[in-house]
Amino acid sequence: MLVNQFLMLGAILFCIGVYGVIARKNAVLVLMSIELILNSVNINLLAFSLRNGSTDGHTFALYIIAVAAAEVGVGLAMVLLMYRNRRSVGLDELSEMKG
């Protein structure tokens, strides 16, 4: 069956997300990349629950979607705050503290 394809897709999305997190300097884009990973996780879950025929996967996925929404809310709020304070959303400017 096509569980494997789903998993492959999930894996790919995961990798893209990770790449985004590491490579992107723009806070919003990083946020998006993280969402990408979360979605890859959702795909995995759905695929598995499809295979297992149990509902737990779906439930988990729903929770993740909900929580992700909240997260993004908070995230955007912070990015906004950042923009307000320094007129930019460039992450590499965030190095007040190091060492």
Partner: protein, 793 residues
Amino acid sequence: MLVQATETAETVLTSGWFLDHAYIIPLIPAVAFFLIIFFGKRMPMKGSEFGIASMVGALVFSGGAAYQWIQRVNGVSEEAFVEPVIKSWTWWQNGGFSFGIGQHIDGLSLTILVVVAFISTLVQIYSTEYLHGDRRYTHFFASLTLFSAGMLNMVVAENMIQLILGWEIMGLCSFMLIGHWWEDGANSRAALKAFFTTRTGDIGLLVGTSVLFFAANDWTQKNLGVSGFSIRGLSAWALSGTAGQAAITVGAVALFIACIGKSGQFPLHTWLPDAMAGPTPVSSLLHSSTMVVAGVFLVARVYPVFFEGMNILGTNVNFIVVIGGVTIVIAAALAFVQTDIKKVLAYSTVSQLGYMMMGLGAGAWLPAVFHIFTHAFFKACLFLAAGSISHSASHHSFDMKKDMGGLRKFMPITFTTWIISTLALCGVFPFSGFFSKDEIIDNVGYSGYSLFMVIGLVGAFLTAAYMTRATYLTFFGSPRGAAAGEHHDEGHGHDAHDSHDAHDAHGHDAHDAHDSHGHDDHASHGPRESGPLITIPLIILATLAIGSGLLNAVPFGENWENLKKWVEPRAEVVNVTGVKEPSGSHGESRFVLTAPSGVVAAEEGGHHKSDCGKKAPESGVCYAPQLNHAPFKWSKAALSLGIVFAGMIISWLLCVQLYTRKNKALVGLTQRNKVLGAGYAFLANKYYLDHLYEKVIVRSIAYPISRGAYWINQNVLDGIVNGAGIGSRKIAGWVYRNVDQRVVDGAVNGAGNAAQGAGGALQPVQSGKVNQYGALLFGAAAIGALVLVIINT
């Protein structure tokens, strides 16, 4: 354990209160010491009364004990073994054994007790005058008293540890007394040197005691119920034939090294002359008659150990005898080049100690002990006489050449006593020295040590010679320097020049005494006789210098040999049966002495001889080895007397030529020989000494300094000590700087820096960049995953 003989059919041993309580003798001065320390300053006589009283007390007690001992000995037959009066209380315990402190009283200890108490008394009386007004008068008496306590304790000691106690206390006191005028660096250095040298010897004491203890303890505990420290036990064990030869030899050698240090034997004798820096009474007490004989006493005390360990009488040469012999000659020779009268006496002491050691080494036990006895009197007398001279005649100088001469007219008493003692020292019949010294020489030869008999005779010759020289310089000829009334402060022999600074610190003998006399005797510088407090002790001692010899006057036949009867332990096999009770503080155990069992001793030359020391007793134990006694022959005596007189006459003539006639031949000779300076005009001796030192001391100690005999001698030990000191200081410094401060600390600090550095190295990781953090986060995860995948597929 209180050990005493019970009455049996054969041996009826009487005892007495003094004998049973001899342990009190050292306690008296010990108590007096604390009294002086705490109340001395407040007493009318500044504490000296305590000291003198305690000494008199000690004298009385030891006299009484001696008397009762004589009773005890007379009570039994000629050959029967006389049980020493031994008491012991638990002093410390270890490994379940308990070790005692107490008394071991027999002829030997009593002899020394009497001598020490007697001399100490006189010296203290003498000091009240001599040190009158000294700023540390009280301290002086305190130390003096403590010193006597130490010596007495060592003499009554029941075991080695107690003996060490007394031994070391003496060392301490000699330190304090020699350094009495410590304001002058020279004195404190001398004190340090004395303590340090003897301490070096004490390594032997510690090691030897340990070795013997472990070797003997089992045997003694089993057979006698005493510890391996106890003198009684050690003696018996040594003669029991069960002693391992290695252990006993090592032990004996080690102990003897300690004796070398303490008794100023070659090569550790150099501290003794320096010690003359102390006040004269100190020299007279410590360095003539008591402390320096401690070493001799130790050998005599546990004689069986040395007898077996050194195989005395077994061969015709052994360690002790050699050391003794060498010392005799070296010291005597040195005495010639001294200008300081006290140093002459110091060297003569060293050489006399050599006689004693040689005697002991050659099995002449009794003569040696006897020589301790007689020597104490005349040597003390000589020192006190010297003190008397410097005190009243030579303005506190000891320089015979500069400040003396022709004094016989001014101080008749001092002169007479001096002459008597000198004759005694030289061993002229019928003075005491003759009876003891001649006996030693005689017995040494008799026991087969012919070479050393010769050395003894040479020594006798030298002794006579240098004493004559000293006498001549001091009392004959024309008065010089202070003796002639010139008042000069500079150049007082070894005296330090700063000794007349405004404040009252003095480097020189008895300046305080001098100041305290007020200026009347500055007004009349002329030499005069000393006061009664000085002369009376002199007279007493002189009398004894004559008389004491009669105590064991062999020439006059058997019944004059009292000392032999009273003092010499009888070599008898004694059966010891008895039960050892738990060694509590007062647990008594009785040892029943029965008749000598086993072989009936063979009669030989009218002398009863047992096998003790020759072979192990089948049953029972021996406490003393059987020794020989040379039959007295006038012929031999005549020989040695002849030598002595020869020495005197030659020396006298030369002195006259040199010092009075100023004989060109001789004086000119000194001009041509500056090496030792004008002081050393005595031709023969000069060459003799150079030769001697280059051959013996320098080569044997391998300390290549030879710029004149006296100088060498002064520096051999200093050199070694300082060299060692400086050397080890250098090593120490190096180790300290490099190892201690660099390596270890370096490691510690290095670790710290390393940590810091690592922190620095890691800081870039903490760049503050979110993406890099993320990369690190996932990177780690990915690596981990990769590893897991690899190992799991």
